[in-house]
């Protein structure tokens, strides 16, 4: 039963992690992200080519590695209608990041060690993680326990004297349970604690506390529907932190294979997200803020709701080759927040995301 349930989806990472990858896979993906704010022509665009590899490197050892280059340009969202000031040089921000994980497999458990790094002009980050998975003899239940730590260096191309540190420790505990031959349930709880310089150096009058504790609980239900040979994924995630932000995410995705030998797959999805504002968030424009008070006008910490719609199409070809293309659209507005009325000064915000990917197994 475990085997057929596993055929549901490879997207259920914990379940498929019970066994060594049989073949090596190389995946190349190119993503394009563009956002803009209603009533202005301020746009931010990001181009991100990415490469990912998974391969067995010994009888019971596998390696997984990924590398991304992001090129970002444009303005980030704010309140304004137009800009005063010379356009100056074309400012582009490039970020390189990579991660690598080595997993050793045993009879009823596996252990993984991972490293991650990210660098850009004004921000460097390195981190490591260790995690273990244990599965019961019937393989119907899998437990996950993980620990991770990150060390970041925050600087600013604006202020040559800024050089600060930020440290993050986190832990995750999860359970994946095969309920019956057509359904799987997964639930993960994570906690992390960040200390150090959390203020945004590019926003004046931005002063955030030096610590932030975060808790999240994600539950996912996957069901295989025999009549249409499709699967349904339903997710709910609850988030809360010490800055008073509470957030809820609801997502539904439908995976529908079709065509000869089910070579094609269509995946529509819909997502709703709502968050409350940070306790020190304020809409007021940054004027004379008292020195010691915590304050931010960063919209990402305001109260808002968003709706996302996405569609992905993929196809398997001869010779273990596959290709996919996906499109996601998100609309964010203060009026969409659940409990509160949201922060009034935020303009509506739109986001387009397109991604094309190719993968080959060896």
């Amino acid at each position: 039963m475990a085997a057929s349930a596993l055929q549901l989806l490879g997207a259920c990472a914990t379940a498929s992690a019970q066994s060594m990858p049989a073949a090596s896979t190389v995946r190349f993906q190119y993503s394009y992200y563009q956002d803009w704010q209603a009533g202005t022509d301020e746009r931010m665009t990001i181009h991100a080519p990415m490469m990912w590899v998974e391969a067995p490197i010994a009888e019971k050892t596998a390696i997984e590695a990924g590398f991304v280059v992001d090129t970002m340009s444009g303005a980030s969202p704010t309140f304004h209608d137009t800009l005063s000031g010379a356009s100056g040089k074309d400012i582009e921000d490039d970020r390189n990041s990579g991660d690598i994980t080595i997993t050793q497999y045993f009879e009823s458990f596996s252990v993984s060690l991972g490293g991650v790094y990210s660098t850009e002009d004004d921000y460097d980050s390195q981190g490591g993680s260790i995690s273990g998975r244990y599965w019961t003899p019937s393989k119907n239940t899998t437990f996950l326990l993980g620990l991770n730590a990150n060390h970041d260096r925050v600087r600013s191309t604006n202020n040559p004297e800024l050089d600060e540190l930020k440290r993050n420790f986190g832990t995750v505990f999860g359970v994946t349970q095969i309920l019956d031959k057509n359904s799987i349930m997964q639930s993960n709880i994570s906690y992390d604690s960040v200390d150090g310089y959390l203020t945004d150096p590019y926003k004046t009058a931005d002063h955030r506390p030096a610590s932030r504790d975060r808790f999240a609980w994600l539950t996912r239900y996957i069901r295989y529907i025999e009549s249409s040979e499709a699967s349904l994924h339903a997710d709910y995630r609850f988030y809360t932190d010490s800055w008073n932000i509470d957030a809820h995410t609801f997502e539904l995705a439908w995976y529908q294979p079709f065509g000869t030998a089910d070579q094609w797959m269509l995946r529509p999805r819909v997502r709703y997200y709502s968050q409350t504002e940070a306790k020190f968030y304020s809409d007021l424009e940054p004027v004379d803020i008292l020195d010691d008070r915590f304050y931010t006008a960063d919209q990402r910490l305001s109260a808002f709701g968003s709706i996302g719609l996405g569609l992905k199409l993929s196809r398997e070809f001869e010779g273990d080759f596959s290709a996919s293309i996906s499109y996601d659209f998100t609309y964010t507005d203060n009026g969409l927040a659940l409990a509160t009325s949201g922060s009034p000064n935020i303009s509506e915000f739109y986001l387009n995301y397109v991604s094309i990917g190719f993968a080959k197994k060896f």
């Binding site: 209603a38 009533g39 022509d41 931010m44 970002m72 340009s73 444009g74 303005a75 980030s76 704010t78 309140f79 304004h80 209608d81 137009t82 800009l83 005063s84 000031g85 010379a86 356009s87 100056g88 040089k89 074309d90 400012i91 921000d93 600013s156 191309t157 604006n158 202020n159 040559p160 004297e161 590019y202 926003k203 004046t204 009058a205 007021l284 424009e285 940054p286 004027v287 004379d288």
Partner: protein, 315 residues
Amino acid sequence: MSQSALPKSFDLSELNPGVFDYNFFALGGPNQIRLCAETKATADSIAAAMITEVQRVEAKFSRYQEDSVLSRINNCAGKHAVAVDKETAALLDYADNCFKQSDGLFDVTSGVLRKAWDFKSATLPSQTQIDVLLPLIGWDKVEWKPPHIKLPKVGMQIDFGGIGKEYAVDRAVTVAHELGMISGFVNLGGDVGVLGPKPDGSKWHIGIVHPRTARETIATVAISKGAVATSGDYERFMELDGKRYCHILNPRTGWPVSELQSVSVVAESCILAGSLSTMAMLYGMEQGRALLDENKMTCLIVDRLGKLSTIRLEE
């Protein structure tokens, strides 16, 4: 330059009814006009008139065009006086006033220093290169007896950097008002003139570009009339050994100023906002602040370390 076809325009009226945006290239950079009108036809004709006026001002006062008034004056340097029309005379009077107000720091004859400073080359000029040009600088040397102007030495030049683009903004606003358009704004390369409040009576929010990260703003000013101009050390510059050399040059020493990252001023006219912001950059923090305080303007100053201070900024 073709004046017939209207440039690319965006109809934002789906998201915002009655709002029309026009983007066009002039004065060496991208420019924007936003008008709020009942019909696109009304907005189109007013935008066309505004753009024509900007192009006229550019052609008349551009140092890059051989047949401009400025080029004529400069070509006669060291030879004879040139008679100018009322509009040019008014600008020269204004330049004269700026010179006096700033104890000679704001000087329209300092453009000749361009010959020593090539920001694309990433090489500093030698002191000799600068010393050779210094005797050609000095508005006090210029014989300005309206309507005649004479630059006494060959090689002396006048350019309206710091007031030319701002003047074009003011002229575009005037043309719009004459045609009855009172809601919208014009933005010429970062110098903004507001025609009047938004149709619902609220103010326009003008973001001030962050002097170091173009994709962020450092502050926002909200105005329903008047203008905002920004002068900064990030427009044209080079950085060598961690030190920045920008295009705002002190006419007495020939070297760039380095005390402030940017100054933005809100004033009734763009030419006033532009000249005050340039003067404040030339003066530096203390005297710059004092100058702006004395003139009772709202302004935003970003110092060398990126710290923002504001005078009279309110919502």
